[in-house]
C-alpha cells in the first residue's frame, strides 16, 4: 500500500488484518502514535485520516491505502512547534505524556475546522481521548490558548 504520511509518500507491504496503528508504529517508524487500548476507547492512537481524526487502531491499514495520514509529527517540528504543542508544554498540559499525541491530533483537527472553538466545543472534540492522569483542565486551557495564538 501507499500512503502520504505527514506529507511524505510512503510505500509499505501490509497484511489484510493489520491495523493502521500497527503499520504506522511497526513498519513506518511512527511511534509518536501511541497504542493504548487497541479497541477505540482511549484515543491515544488518534491520527488525522483525510482531514478527519480517527482511531488508527480501529482502521485497517489497507483502508488508508492512497490516503493522507497526519500524526503528531506532522503537526509541528522540534524547531518550530505548532501553537498547540507550545501551549501544551508551557501550560503544563502534559503529565505522563501518553495521551498527549492523541489530544493534540484531536485538537488540531478541531482547530482546522473551527479556529475559535468554545470551551464546550473543545471538551466535545477531545471526548474520545482519555487522560488517566486526569489533567483535562490544563489540556482544555492549552487548546484555548493555541486557538488564540494560531
Amino acid at each position: 500500500m501507499e500512503i502520504k504520511l505527514n506529507g511524505e509518500l510512503r510505500k509499505v507491504d501490509v497484511s489484510p488484518w493489520e491495523t493502521l496503528l500497527e503499520v504506522l508504529r511497526n513498519k513506518l517508524g511512527a511511534t509518536e502514535v501511541k497504542n493504548g487500548c487497541s479497541k477505540g476507547d482511549c484515543g491515544a492512537c488518534a491520527v488525522i485520516l483525510d482531514e478527519r481524526p480517527v482511531n488508527s487502531c480501529l482502521t485497517l491499514a489497507l483502508q488508508a491505502n492512497g490516503k493522507e495520514v497526519v500524526t503528531l509529527k506532522g503537526i509541528g517540528t522540534e524547531e518550530k512547534l505548532h501553537p498547540l504543542q507550545k501551549c501544551f508544554i508551557e501550560g503544563g498540559a502534559i503529565q505522563c505524556g501518553f495521551c498527549t499525541a492523541g489530544h493534540i491530533v484531536s485538537a488540531k483537527a478541531l482547530l482546522d475546522k473551527n479556529p475559535r472553538p468554545t470551551r464546550d466545543e473543545i471538551r466535545e472534540a477531545i471526548s474520545g481521548n482519555l487522560c488517566r492522569c486526569t489533567g483535562y483542565k490544563k489540556i482544555v486551557e492549552a487548546i484555548e490558548g493555541a486557538a488564540l495564538e494560531a
Binding site: 497484511s15 489484510p16 488484518w17 491495523t19 487497541s38 479497541k39 477505540g40 476507547d41 484515543g43 488518534a46 485520516l49 478527519r52 481524526p53 480517527v54 482511531n55 487502531c57 480501529l58 482502521t59 485497517l60 489497507l62 483502508q63 491505502n65 484531536s106 466535545e124 472534540a125 471526548s127 474520545g128 481521548n129
Partner: protein
Amino acid sequence: MEFLSLSDLKEVLKVKQERKDLAKCIAGGTNFVPDMRSREVSFEQIIDLTALEELNHIKEENGTLSIGALTSISDIASSPVIGKLSPVLSRAAGQLGNPLTRNRATIGGNLANASPAADMAPPLLALDAEIHMERWEQEERKIPIDQFFLGPNKTMLEDDEIITRITFTSPKNPTKGSHFKLGLRNSMAISVVSIAVMLEMNGSECRKARVGLGAVAPKPVRAYRAEKILEGKELDETLIEQCAAIVKEDISPISDIRASAEYRKLVASTLLKRTLREALEGREK
C-alpha cells in the same frame, strides 16, 4: 486472507454471491476490527466498502429522506437536512461513541452489527425507517426496521446481501419528538437504556405514536403497547403514567456489567415519561 477494496456496488454483490460468508464486508471498522481481533475468524476475504461513493449520501426527495449505508455517523450528526427533518436522529448520532469513532462508524454498519444497544436503532424505529438491501442481479428489497433485527447481532440480512440505504418519510402532520441516551458516562458509552419517541399530533390529539428503545431486549424494540395507549387520544399526565407502567411489558432487559434488568425496567419507564413530556413541550421535533 485477501483484502478487496471495491468501488462498484455490482462487484461487491458479485463477490458476496460467490463467497457468501467467506467474504466479510467492512465499513468504518469500529466494530469489525475489535471483533476480528478478539476471536477466531472463518472468513477468507475482507471486502472494504468505504470506496462505494454511491452508498455515501444524504438525499431528500419529495419528503423522503435517503441515507446511504456508508454515511458516517458524524456526517449524519452534522447534516442540516437531517437536523431539519429529524432532529431526533441528529441527536442520537451525536451521542454515538465519541468524535473519533463517529468519523469512521457508518449507519449501515451500526444496523448490520445489530447490537441490542445500537445507537441508530431507537430513532430509526421511531421514524418507521425502512432498510434497503441488495443482492447480485436482483431488485433491492426493503423491510421495515422493526422487522430487521432478530436478536443480538442477528438480522434479516442474508449472507449474500448488503444494506444499501435507509429511508424514512417525514410525517405530513406536525410531529414532536425526543431522544435520550442513558450511559454510564457522557462519552464512549454503551447505552444502559436509550429511547426515541415521535408523536404525530392533530392539535392535542396524538394520531400516531412511535417509541423506539435500545438495550432493553435482545434487539432494539418498539414499545407497541405504550404506542397503542397514546394513539387517538388527547395526551395528558394520566396517559403518560399509564404508558410508563405498561412499557415494562414491552421490554425484556438483561442484567450485565452496566446495569441490572430491574434497573433497566425502572429507567426505561422513567425515560419514557421524560421523553414524552419533552416531546409534548415541543423542545424538539
